[in-house]
Amino acid sequence: MTAATAELDEFRSEVRAWCRAHVPAGWRERQTGVPDAEFVAFQQWWFAELRAAGYAVPHWPAEWGGGMPLARQVILYQELAAHDAPRLVLAFVSIHHAAATLLAAGTEEQRRRHLPAILDGEIWVQGFSEPEAGSDLASLRTTARREGGQYIVNGQKLWASGARHADWCLLLARTDQDAPKRRGISYFLLDMRSPGLDVRPIRNAVGESHFCEIFLNDVVVPAANLVGPEHAGWRVAQETLGAERGLTMLELAERLGNAGFRWLVEACARQELLGDARVADRLAAFETEISGLRALCTDLVERHESGRAGPADASVVKLYYSELLQRMTDFGTELAGLPGQTVLRKPASSGWESGAWLLDFIGSWEWTIPGGTSEIQRTIIAERGLGLPREPAA
């Protein structure tokens, strides 16, 4: 055994011991069907627990409280999944998208204001999509009009996940009506307590209401909250989101492998289906694909860290993860049969590999549609990854 392996084994034991001491027994049952306030309180408590252990933002730079080597991050996510730990669903945008944006394009002042606040529980939401700007995001119509030292924002945002609980919003708005559509967008940090904001939940296909509409009516955003240069918001969003994809996927892939797949095997064992050749074949195919996904995720993070990532690498991983999740939860639903249809709620604070197969299956469209649909990802892969010609403009 090499010294490096020994060191990683020691870290694994450390995380295991921590998980055994801290993951609350029976949280899934207790968090199933809880009111919103209880879900938020539970999320905040769990975030604080992880933070105290140094496990909340391992992917951040060391100077801001992270700095965990990649090999350790993978182990951390493996063990959290293996011990069925709650997921940080409420802080997801804060610790990933918001942090990545601030680190890549934010001013020193913006970083100092928000990164420590995120560690203290500041919640962020993404305000990108609009009713008329879904897959064609660059067609967004929300405007930000400059008036002295501030911008006046008007418009409507859609699919803002968790907006009801958010303190801050990553906002894309049009600052130049006359420029080509991608060149007239700016990126802002929006205080969700600003006057003129109206947040309304939208019930999704699963029956949950974490997606929201945000109506902006003469909302004032100080010019100091602009991220990157004015009119360069599209570029900022593209760059930060691509870099972020690998890190979010790293955890999700380990969840799929260490929790989702394990439950699938256990479900088959309970029903004495492991001896069924077709079932065994499909299980082995899923294990194979999950292994491939995990290797792709680690590879993507390494490529980003060394500046070797290709322009479509993140899309490859997003597309593959989301469709694999969909196929796997579909199979779980099939296995669960009629008894599976009686599982009416999934635990809050779990991911879409919770073992409530039908709800997870329906929830899997939350991965194949948002963040660029599978169709958009395929177009990105073909055009940017393979260099195929763009579709002629309509």
Binding site: T2, A3, A4, V265, C268, A269, L274, A277, A280, D281, L283, A284, A285, E287, T288, E289, S291, G292, L293, A295, L296, D299, A312, V316, L319, Y320, E375, Q377, R378, T379, I381, A382, E383, G385, L386, G387, L388, P389, R390, E391, P392
Partner: protein
């Protein structure tokens, strides 16, 4: 093994990329169905990559052999590399050191001998031992049969996996293919780039000095050789499938219909994107399997699992990708002249060789 600093790993990876570039360049000049010149492969050092430097080899690992296997697939090249170098030399390397085995390994590295491993029925994923030795009044005799053995008909020596007399442990019998009682029958297959044969022994006489023992536990060694066969085939499939995606993308950029390149149509674009995604996954799995096999200290069960995943996924992917390549090339893709059929046929053979995807998944599922 002591800790090797990251710099060493980076240097090794860089050396492999150089090897890949040289191989791609050299094999790219060979026009299929012609085979690359074996002497050229020998002088390039590719036949002795894993052979220790004391025996005039490069002293490298399976990771380097895997690079050549992949590039041979990319070129759909014929020749006995799989049977002789990947498996023949690989088998010799797995044996307890002996002057005769070492001499053969030295000759194989130089291209002067072509040993072919007769491990198991090429169609099986299980580590069954296909031959047995029997000790009788007329001396040691070999019995048994293995089908779909790569490159056995071209071999100058057969390395036959057999059970030692009296239901003993697996050993290797180094046999002359022309020996009495030994029959090597070519088995023509649709894929013209590969040569397979049935090897039959019906009481062939065996010199006890040509019975060679494995180093370490024989069962582990046999399992590792079969994993090696499966992963080498996965590498071949990965290479040939990447060649098919490259060809398809290149064609879709220049072929015009309805006044625009067909590659600008979303249906074509998305099919190409799917090919790329599958290939990325296949590469991730194959790299993991190659790394596991190149590590002498790796857990045998983990090596086998990685090998099965790579074999099942990469060889299935290659058939799909080559099939899509034929489809997206349209009518021209269906012609003999386009050569795409060669890739599709090789992909189909690879999928069945050394364990079907279903067989490998059965092996994975046995762990649940």
């Amino acid at each position: 093994m002591t800790t090797s600093p990251g710099a060493d790993q980076a240097e090794l990876a860089e050396a492999r990329e150089e090897l890949r570039a040289v191989a791609r360049d050299l094999l790219g000049k060979v026009r299929a169905p012609a085979a690359p010149d074996w002497a050229l492969l020998a002088s390039s050092g590719w036949l002795g990559l894993e052979v220790p430097s004391a025996l005039d080899g490069a002293g490298a690992t399976f990771a380097e052999v895997a690079v050549i296997a992949e590039e041979l697939g990319r070129a759909a090249a014929s020749g006995p590399y799989l049977g002789s170098t990947v498996l023949g030399a690989g088998t010799l390397r797995a044996l307890a050191p002996s002057p005769d085995a070492d001499a053969l390994l030295r000759q194989a590295a130089a291209g002067r001998a072509v040993p072919a491993a007769v491990l198991a029925d090429g169609g099986s994923a299980d580590s069954g031992v296909p031959f047995r030795l029997a000790d009788g009044p007329t001396g040691l005799r070999l019995h048994g049969q293995a089908a779909f053995v790569p490159d056995a008909a071209e071999a100058t020596r057969l390395l036959v996996l057999a059970r030692a007399a009296g239901d003993g442990p697996p050993v290797i019998v180094a046999a002359d293919p022309r020996a009495a009682g030994l029959v090597v029958d070519p088995q023509p297959v649709v894929d013209e780039t590969r040569r397979l044969a049935v090897v039959r022994a019906d009481g062939a006489e065996v010199d006890p000095a040509s019975v060679w023992e494995f180093a370490g536990r024989p069962e582990d060694a046999v399992r590792r050789l079969l994993d090696r066969a499966a992963v080498a085939v996965a590498c071949d499939s990965l290479g040939l499938a990447e060649a098919m995606l490259d060809a398809t993308v290149g064609y879709a950029k220049v072929r015009e219909q309805f006044g625009r390149p067909v590659g600008s149509f979303q249906a074509v674009k998305h099919a190409c994107a799917d090919m790329l995604v599958q290939l990325r996954v296949a590469r991730a799995l194959t790299t993991a399997a190659v790394t596991a096999l190149a590590d002498a200290g790796a857990d045998p069960a983990a090596v086998s699992a990685a090998a099965s995943m790579a074999k099942a996924y990469a060889t299935e992917t290659a058939v799909e990708v080559a099939g899509k390549a034929m489809q997206l090339h349209g009518g021209i893709g269906y012609t003999w002249e386009s050569g795409i059929h060669r890739y599709l046929k090789r992909a189909a053979l690879n999928r069945s060789l050394f364990g079907s995807p279903a067989g490998h998944r059965r092996r994975l599922a046995a762990r649940y």
